[in-house]
Structure formats: structure tokens, C-alpha cells
């Protein structure tokens, strides 16, 4: 279908696939055609006219925009003729007549396509002597994005991205002709999870972010590639620092994962690295407060405590921000501490801090999906927590696949944000309010007809900790039997899959609570996790931690969990350590170091190795590379090892996919009675977010969702109300969501104000009474 065909550019014969765009084919052959509005990942529009080239037509030579011209057999193209050069100079002169001379104060200077192309293709001078067009500048179009309409060259990249890619068309052109401007709709700011991408693709300094504005010049920046750890898609990113401060994160175009895009959380959640609240020295609990001590004092204290406690249980509560190398060392120390030297145990004492983690679908009977499989799938099936909020780039890829013809089937009730995209949305009549499958999948005609014998990708996860695995099993086994199925386990947190690959046996937070023996001696490590704040089991875990004999926290901040510790060992974070992470495709990717470890922070593995040493174990890893070599040995495909050397090769810059055996030992909860469905949202009150001032305001929005019938039952008619449970009363926005079933009310689990809300207790919703209450952010 797409064979190679020959075409001629500037007298040279070249080859390209039939139907490829002329501008892209030239780019691939090393011939650069200047452009503003064309972007590899957006539909071409031919608006800026900068890419005009001359082609031979039956009626002589014609100027055509190369971004909308497809390669045809024997096409003859001139990109450097006099006519083309004059057109290029003309277009640049036109663009510059109203463009303000802001370069000295504009963020984009130094990495600006308009500057660069003016130097390369533009006229030497402007002949415009009239008054330039003026707008009030800049204006805030959201809490984190600013728009300068004078600088805007109306290339429509931002509006096209918002419409085509993110599906949030909150910015659009208004007016026409010379008065055209980009703007938002009245009372509807540019609140999109993906708004930061428009700043990255804007070819001038019209869109800027409050996070980076006026911070640096591009030539001052040090840059390194890395992998984001906000969710388990693992987007490829570029870290930009200057004077040892992280200033900016950009998306890199990884064909297999994020294709250049980032969520705003992945892009802007890094200020916390330099927060004054960050713990930089080891903190020791004495009386009820912390004092700073040295590492040798800390190690001595730990050794003494372990000796003193004489055969304690040692348990690990893990987060998702550690690297594979760190998980490997955690596993090693877990194994060591649980050998016959201490209480011998058959099963591990490692618990992962994700309420929604469960056994999942691994092993030989299920085929592991890749993100590119979405593009080749005839049908995509989703049953998981909210994809848009928890795996935002996965949402973009699903959207892209649907646009290209894949069918989408969504099971309720936690994915209403993609219900509009879906061909079939299975709500109350198929999924109960307790997330049971109330109909046999074989009898759901719309499901059967669209998966039988077809290529299907399923995204499977629990919607709530109360959900029984059985309901998912019914669906997955049906799909596995009837279709060519690829499976994503929708465990959304950071490096979950890195933990699963490198830890012998992983259990859940419920298991932690149940297995905790208050009569025994207990030492608990918490590593990069804050379950007291974010887990359903938070209160129980708090009790256990208080009841423990010794708690050691490896973390960045003092928070609800770490404040209960006896020792806080401050660790390194994004950009301060080197390692690998594994994403939901089992793709192992590199994280690179660009910042020095601040204060006295060390990496998690460095602390754990010290602890092992102090207990007499002769373990010494020189560096992450060495640890990586050890853990690489255990991968199944020995031809494609994710060693640092391998991952640094140009052909592997996008990561290598490799598998290991996975062992998750988590049982369903006994109880399934919840009255309020609490879900995770993209923005919340994790310690990193509340300490990142550029975006911490985004997690302050308090709301509940319910359908209109449920609202009526509570007697609600307004958009603002109170959620009341016991002594707690929270002022909230009330969002009516008609995709929800009756009697299901959704509240966010990770928002300030909701910490004391218990999903199992009864609650009430009342309307806000007086006018002052209506001013909810």
C-alpha cells in the first residue's frame, strides 16, 4: 500500500513512502523547509504559508504549501529557487510587522523558531513604519498559563492541540482578519490537564507558564533526558536545570509512549525539589519533636534498636517513586532481615502503598499490551479507575486510537470522563454500584459483537479498593477466550511495575494491617509513601505505626506518615539519582541525574546498604550501575537487557521491553460496604504537590459528583453545598454527572479537607445557604 516512490528536490532524486507529506519527507532526507504551523503530531493546516515550495504542474511552476502536499510519483520540487526565497522573506516580513520587539524580555528567545527562521530565511530589515497591533499583555488564561496576544503569530498550534489531541477545546480563535486573537470563553479558564503542552509547542513566546516565566535563558540550561515518575506510563522527559536548580521539564517525542506530550502534573510538579520544607538532614525523634543527627549516629541507633529488640518483625511500606535499583536493594535487605537470623518467614514483609493494587493479569496466559497496540486494536475495553486523571497520557493515546477508527467500550462508573469518547458506555445496567458485573459478558451483545475474533486491548484495574477481583476476572477471561487480547494492568502509580519486577513478593496495605502482630516487636520502614494521608487504610496504618517499636522513614518531607517515625532519612528525588524505571508496558527506561543530592540526602539504596553493613553484612554496591547489572540478570529476555550501557545506546533511547516473573499476594477486602465512592484525581495534596507552589493551587478544588436524581434525593438544587459527616462539614462544588448511576456519590480521596472523611460512614449533602458560601474556589 505505501511503497517507496521517487521524487526530486532541488535536482536530487529522493525516495519516500507514497502519501507522505512533502515537508516530512524532505525533513527525513535532511532538507529543512521552514515552517510555523506544521507540527509532526498535529493535522496539517497550511496556514502560516512559510513552507511554500515550487512544484512542477501541468500548468507550469506553482507555489504550494509543502505541509499539505503529499508525495506523488515523479514530483519535482524546488525549495531554494528565487520565487521560494522571495516568498519566505515575504512571509517573515508579514509576520514581523505586528510582532512586538519583545526578545529581550521574552522567555522564548534563544529557542525561538521565529528568531531562528528570521535569521535564516528572513529579510534583513522591516519596511513597516506604521503602528503595530496592540493587546493587553499578558493575560492569565488559567492559573498556570499566560497568553501574550501581541506575540501570537496565529499558527493555531495551541488551538489545534486542544481540539484534536487533548479534547479540551477551551482556547479558540475569536474575531477575524487582523483582529484575530486566541482567547478563552467567558468564565471558562484554560483548565486542561494538558495545557502545558501548548506552551511547549508555541513557536513564539505567546504562551508562557508561570512556573518558568523569567527564570532562565535557554543557553544557561543544562539538559538531560529522563523518565517521568508521576504515573506508570513513564513519559520521556527532558530535565532543564540551571545553577543546580530544576527549572523546567519538557516532553520528549518517544514514539512508543508519550509522543511528545506530558500532563501538567508531570510537567510542573518539580518545585518541591527546592522547597524550604524539604528535609535535608537526618531527623531523629526525641520527646515529640525532631532534631538533626548525623548518618553515623543514625546507623548506630538503628543497629542498637535491632539488637535490643531481639528478633523483631521487619516490615516495609513502599511508595512508587523508587527506581528499579532501589527496589532491588529493598528486596535484598528484606530477604536478609528475614533470614533465619531473625524470625523466619515464608512470605515477604514488603507491602506496596497502592489501595488499588491486586493480583492482576500476568503470566503466560495473558499477553502483555504495549501502547502502540492501541493503534492496531479494533476494540479497546476499559475497566479501571479514571484513566484521564491517573494515566493521562494513556487517555491521549486511547483518544488517538479512537480517532483512527478503534472502537471504545467503557465500563462504569469511574471513567465517566471518557464516556463521551466511547462507542459503548456500560453503566448502571451492567455494573452495580458495588462494581460487580451484573450481566454475563457473553450476553452483552454490544460487547460480544465488537470483540469476538477481533484484536482487543483491555485496560483492567479496580475502580475502588472495595471492588472484588471476581468481577474483573469474568470480563478478562471472557475477552481472553473470545478475542486476540492484549492486557494492560492499570496500576497507575509511578514505578509500580519496577517494584513488581524487582520484589519477590508484594503484598498490600490491608495485608500490612492484618498481619501486624501488636504482641511482637515490630520495625517498620516507610519508603517514599504517605498512606496515613492517601490510603483507605490510613487510620489503621497510623495505629500500627504508633504501636510499632521503631519506625524509619525514607522520604522527602515531614508529612502525616513520616511525622510518626523515629528516624527520617532524607532521600534523593527526580534528577538527583540515576536508575531505571519500568512502565505499564514492561518497558524499562532510564532516569538520569543532573542535580547534586541536596543537603545530606542520600539515595534509598545508599541508606539500606549502610544499614546492612552496620548489621554485619558485607554488601557493597559501588554505584547504581552495579546494582543494575545484578537486577538485569534476572530478566527473561537475555538478548535485550536494560543495562545502563544498553539504554544509553541511540537505538534504545526509548527503552527496552523486558519481563520478569511477578508475584502479587493481595486478597479482596472482606467488606464491600461503602457509602461514598472516593477516587483519586490528578491533582491532590501529596507532599510533593503541596510543596510545589506553581501548581499546588490546582489541587485545592473541592467537589463531589452525583447525578441529578441523586441530587434531588438530597434536596440539592444549587452548584454549591456542604458534605457533612459526623463533626466534619466541607464546603464543596456540586458537579452533576449524568453518567453516574443513582445513589452513587463520588468524592476525591486526595484533596485537602477530605482527610477525615470515611467512605464507609453515612454522610449528608446540603445546599449552601448564604451568599458568602458561594465563593468556593
Amino acid at each position: 500500500m505505501s511503497e517507496n516512490i521517487k521524487f526530486t528536490v532541488n535536482g536530487n532524486e529522493l525516495e519516500a513512502k507514497s502519501g507522505e507529506l512533502l515537508i516530512e519527507a524532505c525533513e527525513n532526507s535532511g532538507i529543512h523547509i521552514p515552517r510555523f504551523c506544521w507540527h509532526k503530531r498535529l493535522e496539517p493546516v497550511g496556514m502560516c504559508r512559510m513552507c511554500l515550495v515550487e512544484v512542477e504542474t501541468p500548468r507550469g511552476k506553482a507555489l504550494v504549501p509543502s505541509c499539505t502536499t503529499e508525495i506523488t510519483e515523479d514530483l519535482v520540487v524546488e525549495t531554494e529557487s528565487e520565487v521560494v526565497t522571495k516568498a519566505q522573506e515575504g512571509i517573515l516580513e508579514f509576520l514581523l510587522i505586528n510582532h512586538p520587539l519583545d526578545c529581550p524580555v521574552c522567555d522564548k528567545a534563544g529557542e525561538c523558531p521565529l528568531q531562528d527562521q528570521t535569521m535564516a530565511y528572513g529579510p534583513g530589515e522591516s519596511r513597516f513604519v506604521e503602528e503595530k497591533r496592540h493587546f493587553e499583555k499578558p493575560i492569565s488564561i488559567s492559573e498556570i498559563i499566560l497568553l501574550d496576544r501581541e506575540r501570537c503569530i496565529l499558527c493555531a498550534r495551541c488551538t489545534r492541540f486542544s481540539d484534536e489531541i487533548s479534547g479540551d477545546p477551551l482556547i479558540e480563535f475569536i474575531q477575524r482578519g487582523n483582529k484575530t486573537e486566541v482567547n478563552t470563553f467567558p468564565d471558562e479558564p484554560f483548565r486542561s490537564y494538558f495545557s502545558g503542552n501548548t506552551v511547549q509547542i508555541c513557536p513564539v513566546g505567546a504562551l508562557t507558564s508561570t512556573s518558568y516565566r523569567f527564570k532562565a535563558r535557554p543557553w544557561d540550561l543544562k539538559k538531560v533526558s529522563s523518565t517521568c515518575n508521576c504515573c506508570s506510563v513513564g513519559c520521556s522527559i527532558e530535565l532543564n536545570t540551571s545553577q543546580n536548580k530544576m527549572l523546567r521539564i519538557l516532553g520528549e517525542d518517544n514514539e512508543f509512549t508519550n509522543q511528545g506530550w506530558l500532563s501538567d502534573k508531570g510537567r510542573y510538579n518539580f518545585d518541591y525539589l527546592h522547597s524550604e520544607n524539604r528535609v535535608l538532614n537526618i531527623l531523629n525523634k526525641s520527646e515529640d519533636s525532631f532534631n538533626e543527627i548525623s548518618i553515623s549516629e543514625a546507623m548506630a541507633k538503628i543497629k542498637n534498636k535491632i539488637d535490643e529488640l531481639d528478633n523483631p518483625n521487619v516490615k516495609f511500606l513502599l511508595g512508587s517513586s523508587s527506581t528499579n535499583e532501589e527496589y532491588f536493594v529493598i528486596n535484598e535487605i528484606g530477604n536478609y532481615l528475614n533470614k533465619d537470623k531473625f524470625l523466619s518467614r515464608d512470605s515477604s514483609n514488603i507491602y506496596f502503598g497502592d489501595d488499588l493494587l491486586f493480583e492482576g493479569y500476568f503470566g503466560d496466559q495473558y499477553s502483555q499490551a504495549k501502547l502502540e497496540d492501541l493503534d492496531n486494536s479494533e476494540t479497546i475495553v476499559v475497566w479501571a479507575e479514571d484513566i484521564k486523571d491517573n494515566l493521562p497520557i494513556l487517555y491521549l493515546r486511547i483518544k488517538k486510537a479512537v480517532k483512527n477508527g478503534s472502537k471504545l467500550i467503557v465500563f462504569g462508573h469511574t471513567n465517566t470522563s471518557i464516556a463521551g469518547l466511547a462507542d459503548f458506555y456500560f453503566g448502571a445496567d451492567i455494573v452495580s454500584n458495588k462494581f460487580e458485573l451484573i450481566r454475563n459478558p457473553n450476553e452483552i451483545e454490544d460487547l460480544k459483537n465488537n470483540i469476538e475474533g477481533k484484536k482487543v486491548t483491555v485496560i483492567a484495574g479496580k475502580s475502588t479498593v472495595f471492588q472484588k477481583k471476581e468481577s474483573l476476572d469474568k470480563l478478562i477471561n471472557f475477552l481472553n477466550e473470545k478475542s486476540e487480547l492484549q492486557v494492560f494492568n492499570a496500576f497507575s502509580k509511578g514505578n509500580t511495575f519496577g517494584a513488581l519486577q524487582n520484589i519477590d513478593e508484594v503484598k498490600g496495605l490491608n495485608e500490612f494491617c492484618n498481619e501486624f502482630d501488636t504482641n511482637a516487636k515490630n520495625i517498620v520502614f516507610t519508603i517514599g509513601v504517605n498512606p496515613v494521608n492517601s490510603s483507605f487504610f490510613g487510620q489503621k496504618i497510623k495505629e500500627k505505626l504508633i504501636a510499632s517499636d521503631f519506625v524509619i522513614s525514607l522520604d522527602l518531607f515531614v508529612n502525616e506518615t513520616t511525622e510518626l517515625a523515629d528516624l527520617i532519612l532524607p532521600t534523593t528525588s527526580l534528577g538527583e539519582k540515576e536508575g531505571t524505571v519500568t512502565n505499564m508496558e514492561m518497558r524499562v527506561m532510564k532516569q538520569n541525574k543532573i542535580l547534586p543530592a541536596p543537603g545530606s540526602t542520600l539515595s534509598e539504596w545508599e541508606y539500606l546498604t549502610s544499614i546492612l553493613n552496620v548489621l554485619g553484612e558485607d554488601v557493597n554496591y559501588k554505584n547504581e550501575n552495579e546494582i543494575n547489572n545484578y537486577l538485569s540478570e534476572k530478566y527473561i529476555n537475555q538478548e535485550k537487557l536494560p543495562t545502563f550501557d544498553n539504554l544509553n545506546k541511540p537505538s534504545n533511547l526509548f527503552g527496552v521491553i523486558n519481563k520478569k516473573d511477578i508475584n502479587i499476594n493481595i486478597k479482596d477486602l472482606e467488606e464491600d460496604n461503602f457509602s461514598l465512592l472516593m477516587v483519586r484525581r490528578l491533582y491532590g495534596d501529596s507532599s510533593t504537590q503541596i510543596n510545589s507552589p506553581s501548581i499546588s493551587m490546582l489541587g485545592a478544588h473541592k467537589f463531589i459528583e452525583l447525578n441529578s436524581i441523586t441530587a434531588k434525593k438530597y434536596g440539592i438544587n444549587s452548584k454549591v453545598g456542604n458534605l457533612i459527616q459526623g463533626p466534619n462539614s466541607i464546603l464543596i462544588n456540586i458537579d452533576i454527572n449524568e453518567y453516574l448511576p443513582d445513589d452513587l456519590v463520588i468524592a476525591p480521596i486526595n484533596r485537602r479537607g477530605f482527610e477525615n472523611i470515611d467512605p464507609c460512614l453515612d454522610f449528608d449533602i446540603t445546599e449552601a445557604k448564604n451568599r458568602e458560601e458561594l465563593n468556593v474556589n
Partner: protein
Amino acid sequence: MKETLLLTKHMRENPENSHLIDVYEKNNGYSAARKVFKENNPGDVIEEIKTSNIRGRGGAGFPTGVKWGFLAEDEERYLVINADESEPGTFKDRILLERDPHQLIEGIIVTSFASNISKAFIYIRGEYAKPARRVQDAVEQAYEKGYLGKNIFDSGKDLDVVVHLGAGAYICGEETALLNSLEGRRGEPRLKPPYFPAVKGLYNKPTLVNNVETISSVPWIINNSGKDYAKLGVEGSTGTRIFSLSGHVNTPGNFEIEMGCSFGEFIDNFGNGIKENKSVKAYIPGGASAPWFTGEQLDIKMTIDDVANAGSMLGSGAVVVMDEDTNLVLAAKSIVSFFAHESCGQCTPCREGTTWLEMILERIASGRGRTSDIDLLLDVCDNISPGLAWPPQMTTICPLGPSAVSPITSLMGSFREEVESLLPKKVLINNE
């Protein structure tokens, strides 16, 4: 020299109520529709239009029969009547809409039958409030009689007509911008290729876009014959056309004539010469987009091909006459202003260039011109329309940009001294 009345016959004979359906029917109205349903041969209808050699009356002058032949096969096809008459100087569609809407509706019925179309849209410019009301009423009258709706004329075929109002944008007269506007999007032209309306038009389905006058001519062609239509006018410009005459003539107005006479004859006969007996300095042969002819070129024939060969276009048939005392720089500025105001803003050269041209002309007209301004004007024009050739090349998406260039090339081509007289004199120092 007399008018030949085809399109305007009914409205002249019934000046008070030609727009009502019973008056239309008493005058042999809807007989063409009945005829085509009786003979039931769509192919024949298209042949008849091809034989008539009628060319589009909107401005481009494309052979209508050929256009109908291009319409791609599809279950869903649409007919769109372009009643967004906005070319300055043109006011002929207005009378057809206001005074003979049923002629248009009958044309729509025949066209839809010939091309197997069951939904038609009439896009009327928002400013035409009264004509739009008349058309809407006429459509309702037709529905009542069973000429529109389900099973029209008992033929088993359906035809729905939707009247839609524009919102004040000249660019929505460009067919693809019109389709965008009809779809609820910004009225911006689409790229051709791939969005040729005959293949990918309204809602990406094959669509016929035709001018009001073109479709209004269809009933006569069916009632008489394509051959009879081709006998009127001259070869290459068959049939009759309504020309809108305005400017410094004594009797401006709409006149329906067979094509073939010269502009001079037209102006003398129907315009009754120039006011106060002045001479013609320049005239626009076909709407604001067309390059001007001078007073010395009044013998050019009013046919599509003759005007094209002389370096302009017959376009929408709007003749605007400027007498010897006209300030041509202001005239050019007025036209350029119009295009700058109406530019959709999509592409750089038109959006920025037309306003720049307007600003330069403003300075020249008000005495603040510079000696470099003439070359600057022509160079800016060249960057919008490379080569300043006719027919124009474009760096733009649609011909609006090059349209703004026409008055300036006309001004500089034939009236350069008038512009130079407004610029500061170059001072010679030491015989340089």
C-alpha cells in the same frame, strides 16, 4: 439596445406580488419541475444544462454542466445555494431572492432531481433580512403545496430545503468557507485539494455549490431547451445575465441582457451616460476583486472570455463607473480596506498584508506618503500574489488576498502619475 428578460420577466410583469406562489404558478410556475418528474430522466436534465453552456454566475464562471458532472457518487449529497452576495457593487441576487424566490426554489427542485439530492441549503447573507424572509416564506409555501418535503410532486422522492443566515462575513461567499460556516465552524476557507466540494463538501460529503442566479436560470432552460439558451448571448458566454450597474452613471440599477455588447454601449444605453456629462476615468468590470479598465477601454465586450483576455474578470457582473474627478487613490483604498476588514485571518500574507496595504494607501491619500511607497506597495502585493500576474498566483489559501491586490495593480498600471502626485517630490541635488 434592449434587455432580454428571462430571470426578471416574472418580477417585471408582477411588480407587487411576484414572490407569492399562486402568482408564480399562474405565470407557468413550477412547470419545469413537473416536466422533469414526468419525464423522469435525471441524465437528460444534466445534458440539457451542458448543452446550454451556462457558466456560473457567482464570479468564477465555471461551466455549470461540467460542475454537476463532477459530483461524486454517494448516498448523501447536498446542494448549497450561495446567496451570500457580498462582492461590492453586486446586487443582482438580491432581487432574485426578494422578488422571485419561487424561481430559485424551482431551480433547486430540478437541480436536486438531476443530481439525486434530497437536502438543499440556501445560505443567505445576514444583512439581507427582507430577501431572507421572502425566501423563508416561499419555502414554507412550497412545503404546503407538496413541492418540498416528502414525496414531492408524487415522485417518491424527498427534498428538504433549509434557509440559513450568514452573520456578516464576505469570506463566507467563498464556497468552502460557506460550508464551514454552515457546519457551525469559523467561516474560513478550506484547502483545495483535498476539500473540493464536489468530492468532500458539506459534512465531508459531495456537495454542489451554485450561485442564486445560476440555479434561477435552470427552470427556463428546462421549459425551453439548452439549445435555445445557447442561442442567446455569444459563444462562451451564453444566455442572459443580470448586471448591476453603479457608480457615477445617471441611472444605476440591475439590467438583464444577453452578453456580447461592449461596456461603453452598456453604460450609455442603460446607465444613460455619466452624470453631468463627465467622462469615464476608470471602471470596474466585474466586482471589487476585478482589475480596473480605463476610460479608453470602453469597447471591451461584456463576455467572460473577452474580459479575461483583456486582463480582468467579468466576475459577479458588477460594473462600477468612476468619472474623471474621482480620487482613484481613495477609491483603491476603499476597496483594499474592504478586503482587509473581511480577511478571515487564517493565512499570514492576507491577514497582515491587506491591512498593511490599507495603511500605506491611507498615508499616501492623506499626504504622508513616502517616495519609496509605490515600490513598497507593489512589493507587498507581489508577496501576496507573486508575479502580479493575471490570473493571479497566490501565496494565500484563497483568492481574497490577490483580490486586494487588483485595485493597486490597476492604480499603478494605468494611473501611476496620480499616485506620484501625492508623494513628496524627489529633490535633485547637484544634478544626481
